[in-house]
């Protein structure tokens, strides 16, 4: 989440501690210039985990106060438009614990949250954790699929464009990716709905306009149905998301391309393709790994606007509707889960990184 919780984009292999003769070896700690002792590593990992725990607690505290800064009245919002007496409103405030002093609300929130209890959603009358667990699979399916695809596409195109630096395809691919990157995801989503769901001109409406399933399907038909619903939102997410990976991959590979160890590899008579795949790309992958871990944390949070446009029943859409009340227990719970995912992904990156690049954590 913070700059120091993720490894900085490093210059691998040909940096001061690099081993130009065995660039591929940088991926193995054992083959590094100075083997890290297990104790050293465990100390490093423990420090990172401790940092994550502190961050999680900070998030827990922040989530309580942050959403109380929103000027709104959940009880009035929820009863809006219905005949409710002033006494009934007071009763509801009591039921939701909103009449308690702030410090009391805070201590009971933290106490409960530590046991995994985020309270009952104001608007859905369901335990927050159940609501989150219900919506989580849909989000993981959507953003997880998109994550795999845009990471793969970004790495592949990033490698291609860097290797063909300055070529027409490099310029086109980079410009195209950047254009898509700057397109608002919900707008692109709506456009895809109009073109590929409703159909325009000779293009027929091939995909559903929204939702996760048609309802009523079972077995293999259900899988196909969900996959069918998944196509357009995934395309939207991939289209706006792959540019980031592409650019990082491209720039780090460009940095590698002038390196001596590549010249050495070529001098050994290796084919250009092999030099690229087995020598240059593995080293250039390190910054991309960092980015992928950062993005991995966001997979849980989903994409609020894309989930809304495609009526995807995931956490992003849930967060949107919870914020509009605001349904305090639900927004707090969701915020905590989102932040936890990012912190965990970053901690995982921190812990794994020394295994990928031995210079980290010394």
């Amino acid at each position: 989440m913070t700059a120091d919780s993720t490894p900085a984009l490093v210059q691998p292999a040909d940096g001061p501690d690099g081993d130009p003769a065995t660039p591929a070896g940088t991926l193995s700690a054992a083959r590094g210039p100075r083997a890290r002792t297990t104790t050293e590593y465990l100390k490093y990992a423990a420090a990172k985990i401790a940092g994550a725990v502190v961050s999680l607690f900070a998030v827990l505290v922040t989530s309580f106060f942050l959403f109380r800064l929103i000027p709104s009245d959940p009880v009035k919002q929820m009863t809006g438009g219905r005949k409710v007496s002033t006494e009934q409103l007071a009763n509801l405030r009591h039921q939701y614990g909103l009449d308690q002093p702030m410090w009391k609300q805070f201590t009971s929130y933290v106490g409960d949250a530590l046991t995994g209890d985020f309270g009952i959603s104001f608007q859905y009358h369901t335990p927050v954790i159940d609501k989150i667990m219900d919506a989580l699979p849909a989000t993981l399916l959507l953003t997880g699929t998109a994550y795999v695809l845009y990471s793969a596409l970004g790495i592949w195109l990033g490698t291609r464009t860097a290797w063909r630096n300055g070529s027409r395809s490099d310029r086109f691919n980079t410009a195209f990716a950047l254009t898509l990157y700057s397109v608002p995801a919900f707008w692109l989503g709506l456009l895809l709905i109009i073109v590929f769901a409703v159909g325009i001109g000779p293009i027929p409406g091939m995909f559903p306009t929204g939702g996760l399933e048609s309802g009523g399907e079972t077995g293999f038909a259900y899988v196909i149905d969900v996959a069918h619903h998944l196509v357009l939102p995934v395309i939207t997410l991939v289209a706006v998301g792959y540019a980031q990976t592409l650019l990082v991959m491209r720039s780090s590979l460009l940095d590698e391309m002038g390196s001596d160890y590549l010249t050495t590899a070529r001098a050994k008579g290796l084919r250009d393709d092999v030099v690229r795949r087995k020598h240059a790309v593995p080293n250039a992958m390190l910054p991309t790994f960092t980015l992928m871990f950062v993005n991995l944390g966001h997979v849980v949070a989903g994409q609020i606007l894309v989930e809304t446009v495609f009526s995807w029943p995931g956490l992003g859409g849930l967060f949107y509707s919870a914020l509009s009340v605001p349904d305090l227990p639900l927004v707090q719970g969701l915020f905590f889960v989102f932040a936890t995912a990012v912190i965990l992904a970053n901690t995982l990156a921190d812990i794994l990184y020394p295994l990928l690049d031995p210079r980290v954590g010394r």
């Binding site: 709104s72 219905r82 009358h125 027929p204 009523g216 009526s311």
Partner: protein, 628 residues
């Protein structure tokens, strides 16, 4: 920078370009395309809400803009949920679709005692629950008693039983409700009656959402058979529903959640849903884009909402403690009336609502004709900037260098609270700035996502206001009584904008205790007349209900009022109960899209096969050296 050697190898690289990532990517893309291809030819226009489904089942699909908050009648508050509950359960009474007058529902007859404190309802004997049990007065007594004794069960409809002393069921067909004081709204108890034998076992009413066991036992015109949060609600026709005159024609109704209104409109255009309503209306742009479209009818009926400007008459608590910072100039009736005389409601209807609204007059919209009131010519505060200027002069706000300045030498500058999410507020705000600016009054438009906090803190001068009105006007009148004021400063309360006036309260008490409909309507109109003169509320428009449906799926559907009314959010189940599907002989088949779908599917599948073949060939061509 790439070296020359590197650039020189581009051709070679191009020919042999292959990597694990690429294979993975190709496999992913192939799987993805395959999914699309598989789905497309098998099901080209998938699950379109055809009037006739494959098994001959007639399904009507309605696009919903909101999520269902709960399916428990004791908890559900949103319009979408209460509309669905109307289909699942019978209510004591219903409203006639023609003119909103009260008609029998679960009760066939009702009668007050001579002291006006006891109401006796005759409960119908021909209603049964979907599990076969008989629906009786005991179920109704159980429902009301539960709301009276359990705070959690009073969450949604507690206000209906606030004045109840005792509820009993002396027999299967008799329900007796004793009141603390007379209450004219006893024929409008909009409470779903639940089966006692199912609900008596519920332990915690605050957490029971009635959405786990399907089908849900009910006695309405439809039975709820399936529900998935934020996805869909399915209901099937209840063959045992007592109203046999015209049983529902559709076998199934599916309410499908579309969180984005434009996506819902796209779904209608495609035929994936049969009906779409706005929240509360389709935007003028959406309506315009659908008008003239083949097989789509845009239905526009008089709305049940009013759209107004409210002034802050000085925020106060029930015991008279003043708070807030409303501009004192607005305590002068002449200033309030002057502001309203410089609001051109015709321009607002024409330009902001683009004709999809009716100019405002009295407090209750004209569709509720029994209670609709409009000012006489002499009473009318019509648009007249000249008269407005004179009123301000009289109030002591003279024009000085283009600004109205009070006796204290301060210029008259006001603030208006606007809902940031409502484009109408923003547009009207611009007009007001211009009109009131010409009058010499400054205006700051404060647009907020949630206006409730400054509103209930009394920290505003004016506010854009609007309410949806029920056939019984008690609610929208009640929010202006002294009883609705907050107990503590800044605490949310039932009040709309702190109006508390003895004359208004007296009239409110009289209308609530008056059981003669004509006399009650007279009191209601007097209240509207008082509200109009006071200048506290300026009703600018009654926005129309704008919605659309597919005529190739729905042959006919009942609006409310029957002559040019709305379909979604009716007071009753008339629209979905009356909807008639287009029979297969009526509908011109639109199988062309299916054919195109199949063609596209085949093309995609072919591409996948070709792509796979290429991949395979190139893999074979790679050298042994590279594979190592």
């Amino acid at each position: 920078m790439a070296t020359k050697a590197q650039r020189d190898t581009h051709d070679q690289h191009h020919r042999t370009n292959r990597s694990g990532v690429r294979v993975l990517l190709a496999a992913g893309a192939a799987a993805f395309s395959l999914t699309a291809a598989l789905a497309t030819p098998l099901n080209p226009a998938p699950h379109e809400a055809k009037a006739a489904d494959d098994g001959g089942k007639k399904v009507l699909t309605v696009a919903l803009a909101q999520s269902v908050d709960s399916l428990s009648p004791f908890l559900a508050t949103r319009l979408v949920s209460t509309s669905i509950l109307r289909l699942m359960y019978d209510y004591p009474t219903n409203y006639d679709p023609k003119d909103n007058h009260v008609v029998p529902g679960f009760a066939t007859k009702w009668e007050p005692s001579s002291d006006k404190l006891t109401w006796t309802y005759t409960i119908r004997s021909d209603s049964k629950w979907s599990d076969g049990e008989k629906a009786t007065a005991h179920d109704a007594a159980f429902t009301f008693n539960k709301m009276m004794t359990d705070d959690a069960a009073a969450t949604a409809n507690g206000s209906f039983v606030g004045n109840f002393e005792k509820v009993t069921a002396p027999s299967d067909t008799q329900l007796v409700i004793k009141l603390k004081k007379p209450q004219a709204t006893m024929t409008s108890l909009d409470v779903p009656i639940v089966p006692e034998h199912v609900w008596k076992d519920v332990k915690d009413y605050s957490k029971f959402n009635n959405d786990q066991k399907f089908p849900i036992v009910g006695n309405g015109p439809f039975i709820l058979t399936d529900y998935k949060t934020d996805q869909y609600v399915k209901l099937k026709r209840n063959p045992d529903f007592w109203r046999k005159s015209k049983n529902p024609q559709f076998d199934e109704i599916v309410f499908k959640t579309y969180k984005d209104q434009d996506a819902a409109v796209a779904a209608l255009r495609k035929g994936e849903v049969s009906f779409v309503a706005g929240s509360p209306a389709l935007t003028p742009a959406q309506a315009a884009s659908l008008k003239g479209e083949k097989n789509i009818k845009v239905n526009e009926g008089p709305g049940r909402r009013f759209y107004a400007i409210a002034t802050n008459p000085g925020a106060r608590t029930k015991d008279g403690k003043k708070f807030g910072d409303g501009n004192k100039a607005l305590l002068d009736q002449k200033v309030r009336q002057a502001l309203f005389r410089s609001v051109d409601t015709k321009t607002i209807v024409d330009k902001v609502f683009q004709g999809h609204a009716v100019q405002g007059e009295g407090y209750i919209p004209p569709r509720f004709k029994d209670y609709f009131w409009s000012p006489s010519d002499s009473q009318k505060l019509s648009y007249d900037p000249g008269a407005a200027g004179k009123l301000l002069d009289e109030a002591g706000y003279k024009l000085k260098d283009g600004k109205r300045v009070g006796k204290d030498g301060k210029a008259l500058d006001l603030r208006i609270l606007c809902h940031a999410t409502d484009p109408n507020d923003k547009a009207v705000g611009k007009y007001l700035k211009e009109w009131w600016g010409k009058l010499g009054v400054g205006l700051k438009v404060d647009c907020l996502d949630d206006v409730s906090v400054p509103w209930y803190a009394g920290e505003y001068d004016l506010a854009f206001d609007g309410w949806s009105v029920n056939p019984d006007p008690d609610f929208v009148l009640g929010i202006h009584t002294c009883a609705a004021l907050p107990a503590k400063a800044k605490e949310s309360a039932a009040t709309d904008n702190f109006i508390c006036d003895k004359k208004f309260d007296d009239l409110y008490g009289k209308q609530l205790a008056e059981y003669d409909p004509a006399k009650r309507a007279e009191y209601v109109k007097q209240m509207e007349s008082w509200l109009y003169d006071s200048g506290y509320m300026n009703v600018m428009a009654y926005p129309n209900a704008v919605e659309a449906y597919r005529t190739d799926q729905i042959k006919s559907i009942e609006t409310m009022p029957t002559a040019a009314g709305n379909i979604y959010g009716q007071d009753g189940y008339w629209s979905w109960w009356s909807a008639e599907p287009v029979s297969s002989s009526d509908s011109g088949s639109s199988d062309s899209s299916s054919t195109t779908g199949v063609v596209i599917g085949i093309v995609v599948a072919a591409l996948v096969v070709i792509g796979g073949g290429l991949l395979f060939t190139r893999r074979r061509r790679s050298t042994a050296d590279e594979r190592e």
